[in-house]
Symmetry: C2
Subunit: 661 residues, 2 copies
Amino acid sequence: MDDIARERANSKLNTVEITNLLFGGEFIVQRMGEIRGMITSDPALQMRGYEFLDREDKYDRSVKLSTYLLKTKLSELGINHYLEKVQFFRESLGTVPPFDFTERIFYNTVNGQGTQEQKDKWLPLAGSGKILTCYAQTELGHGTFVRGLETTATYDSTTQEFIIHSPTLTSTKWWSGCLGIAATHGIVVARLITNGEDKGTHNFIVQLRSMENHEPLKGVIIGDIGPKFGFVEKDNGYARFDHFRIPRDNLLMRFARVDPDGTYTRRLSSKLGYGSMVQLRAFITFNTFEALARGTTIAIRYSVVRRQTQNRPGALETQLLDYTNQQFILIPLLATTYALYFVARRIIALLGETQAQLEQDNLTLLPEMHASSAGLKAVSTTAVSQGIEACRIACGGHGYSQSSGFPELYSNISASMTYEGDNNILLLQTARYLLKMVNELSHNPNHPLSDNVKYLTDNNCIHRPYSLIFTSSQQQLSLYRGMVRASVHRAHARVLDGEKRGLDTFDAWNQAAPELIQCAEAHTYYVIAKSFIESLEMSGVTNMCFENQRIMKKLSDIFSLHYMLQKSGVFIESGVIHGSDLVELREVLVSLFAEIRTEAVSLVDAFNYPDFVLRSVLGRKDGDVYRAMWDWVQDNPRNKHPDGVHPVYHKYVKQLLASKL
Amino acid sequence: MDDIARERANSKLNTVEITNLLFGGEFIVQRMGEIRGMITSDPALQMRGYEFLDREDKYDRSVKLSTYLLKTKLSELGINHYLEKVQFFRESLGTVPPFDFTERIFYNTVNGQGTQEQKDKWLPLAGSGKILTCYAQTELGHGTFVRGLETTATYDSTTQEFIIHSPTLTSTKWWSGCLGIAATHGIVVARLITNGEDKGTHNFIVQLRSMENHEPLKGVIIGDIGPKFGFVEKDNGYARFDHFRIPRDNLLMRFARVDPDGTYTRRLSSKLGYGSMVQLRAFITFNTFEALARGTTIAIRYSVVRRQTQNRPGALETQLLDYTNQQFILIPLLATTYALYFVARRIIALLGETQAQLEQDNLTLLPEMHASSAGLKAVSTTAVSQGIEACRIACGGHGYSQSSGFPELYSNISASMTYEGDNNILLLQTARYLLKMVNELSHNPNHPLSDNVKYLTDNNCIHRPYSLIFTSSQQQLSLYRGMVRASVHRAHARVLDGEKRGLDTFDAWNQAAPELIQCAEAHTYYVIAKSFIESLEMSGVTNMCFENQRIMKKLSDIFSLHYMLQKSGVFIESGVIHGSDLVELREVLVSLFAEIRTEAVSLVDAFNYPDFVLRSVLGRKDGDVYRAMWDWVQDNPRNKHPDGVHPVYHKYVKQLLASKL
């Protein structure tokens, strides 16, 4: 039996049970399989040779296939459900769709911020692909600080039009996906100016290209911003507007309206518009789960197939995954993958409640939702980007080849550290929420606290337990609560100290950034560890076989304890463990790794990625990686020149070798 | 005055002095400038539009230019010195040369392991480019573990030839640079078999392609292994051999010879061949300095130009570099850049002594050199790869564009974590050396120790100083010594403990990997911090103006203290600081950042990279980044289609928009 087959034979897990847990039940998993069957059975959707295409060929391919899918395939196959469309697009294209279809930020914005009239007009067009859309907010000189945007939309009551204009170079819209080539319409975020008054940024629907011939409309200058680290072929674009006129009712008017005479009325708190933002961040956390699931699948499968160094005379070389240092990299990442799954489910559930409230113009849940989704977005995208890179490096040289799938996986996910809010700034927002709670409590000790910050009033967590049992989930949570509580108070004290020293509000806050970011990160790791531990008690998990539950508990321990070891200084500084505890902490972790080691392949099999989705020669389910690498390079156009001689020889090399130097 | 000009006006540093220090004196710096002048004045060597080329066009360009440089340019310009050639190639090509010229591993191997006869025959050919060479060691299934290589070289005394053969798929040579397309000859590492005995791996010179028509010779199957994360166009290749015959004297025979009758004689310790390996690792450390110098130049210049968030009414938005969290990322990396410079100089000096010894068949210095170069290679490549990525992310969305230079900079440098030895394995080699010293001392307390490990017998460093002064260099070194010493003893105890529990040698070592890697990393950071601090006393630095020396000391403090904060758990566990010291440690660092903040631009200006070498719109010396981004995208072929309509519209999109869905 070959190595990877033996791993599966030795596993005691019920992989199917776990897959059903992760993807929402037997029925959905079966349907996912059907959709994958439709893709693999369609000759038009084969990915072979994809990695050898250059930017333009990749783009041409994805537009061609998307058109094919939208026009014929979806209806023909009866794929109507939104999530099924998303899966079908992602897995058949093998890249982010060229049209704003699965992202549909345009759609969500109109839906969340448009009037009923505007929804009736635009949503059917945007949802069906009869117009191609984008969302243009960021400008060349302005990103995270939305109030700093320069593009203007000046109302002209004589014609009842808004005049969209880019007054400066730095006001050029930049980065918007689909804007470069495809989009016919976009949401443009611009400063609304009426009757000479600047009312701040608002959202406008702007037609960009002619529906007749796709040429940019007069007064609109559009282009593609060029190749990027990832999403290479995607047409992220720029746009400049030269006094470009749009109808008055292209302003999204749910929160504010402009009357024909130019009178401006704010109707509702624009905070109600935050729904789509927190929604994006919540789903990003789920995306990071999927990305790390791919990364760990590739790295762990390869690590049982790859053997290195004969450590005992006459024995085979050792499987990579039998090296403790390899386990120390990959097994905490495997635990993190599961941790992110459970917390993503939670945040998406909380999102549902929040949005239901927002529909009722109710903002109660928004602050907690905002703080949690900001911290989770920052922590999960950073942890997963670094984790996928660690997986790649753990695969040695072959991880560096594009045949491994890692270069594309990493360069795509790493964008998530920046988009939808810079991670440092998001953590500072979470910190602001935490310090606000501390202030509230200082005024009113009975101030109501959401469950995630109850540690601020919990006095049972501030000292090291007399007998420390690292594998006790309850003790883990207690240690985390004590650590986070102390971190939040350190940050608070640091800000107060700055103010005492005469710094103004900004300087006092700014010089405390290290403590603020640290406490926000610590809080977020606590939220993740807590949701993992609490999920172990929920039916989805308790319904599973004993062995599955036992391993889930071990993964939860590894997640909690690995971060504790990484940040041991913070835990010690907070008084919840001592330096002398670390020897035992490392021993506990190493023994936990050994227990997970034997189940590692099953735990990634449960992620249920077929080879055609992973597109990694190293992550092949059958473990036949070297044959796969050999086959892959045979598609390399460089290896198809006659007589095995590359054109550069005749053009340049021949004369060089012939020349007298 | 614009932002970046104001930064320079406010700096008190003598930048020229620092540049001369870094690059070896006024004369060399001037010559570097002349060479740059020759490149910029040659229309054939312009890089404009380079980032928009696909893989084949980039390769064609670099082969074309290399041929041009080798055939005419170098002699015409009188560039003969090796280092001048290296600079000229790197800066004019903007990528790694397509021929094994600046790497010249083939050359160094023949030089180090060939007989005088062999050197006389091959070095002139390889050095002049009359043959194009590569070095083929790694196989599809075998990397770091050289003894596991499968390729065979079986001696046939009847014809006095070696028969090179690839017995399995996994024995296929893989990854070798220049092997895919260009190389005519290579060093092939293969198991020498003579008279039926396997004598282990040896180096053979093998002709791969015909000198007449460049076709692969019969019995040699060659190809390109396809696109990679970085070095996209480089022709890393594979080779399989089918009973391919080469003359007996193509075996490099300095260390071992095979007589015509097949008699095998080992002549000298093959350890003498390690010279070229440690040489490569030593120079990698210098390369990491140069890479991080580029990364910090780009990120710091952009961070004074980019403004974000209006933090005070009526004020301008704040420069990124004025945010403490931005300083916390970039300023320690700036300190690391200088730290790596000083330690690289040291290791290269030690290398000189070691190689002089090896020439005399003397191995005394080799173990220390091997341990230091292994640890430094691992620590520097990891720190710099992560550091450049941190610089990219600190530049927000624009860092993600290929116009920033970061994607190429990162994807290229990150390969260094794997090549020339996997970093974890190298750290374990350093740990093996450290534990060996502990064992020696247990047998003989007076065992001679190299300066870098004297802490093992230093009892003055094991407790926290009564009055702790973080900015005292001597105290920093004492804290590090105590921390490393304790780490080494923890690792040693962990291995012994495993053996006590009945584990065999490998298992006992393997389960201690976390402690072993930790102590090797700690030791290496100590070596770097020590060399930085000691360099402050050396003439190169003490000759500089007071302000330069003052700032160098601050940078040294930041390097020592930042690692202390990152690894505070280890320092606390080792008893040299307490958890309660961390508040002050953070305060000290934040105030040091504020002092470096005002000199940051000058400190990167001192790295002396002109815009055409950096090739980064964000790193421009004049700070005019937005104009540069706009100009850059105007070269984008995607933006040059007639009427601004991309071909995909006519091919696909038109029908999609027209269709009834």
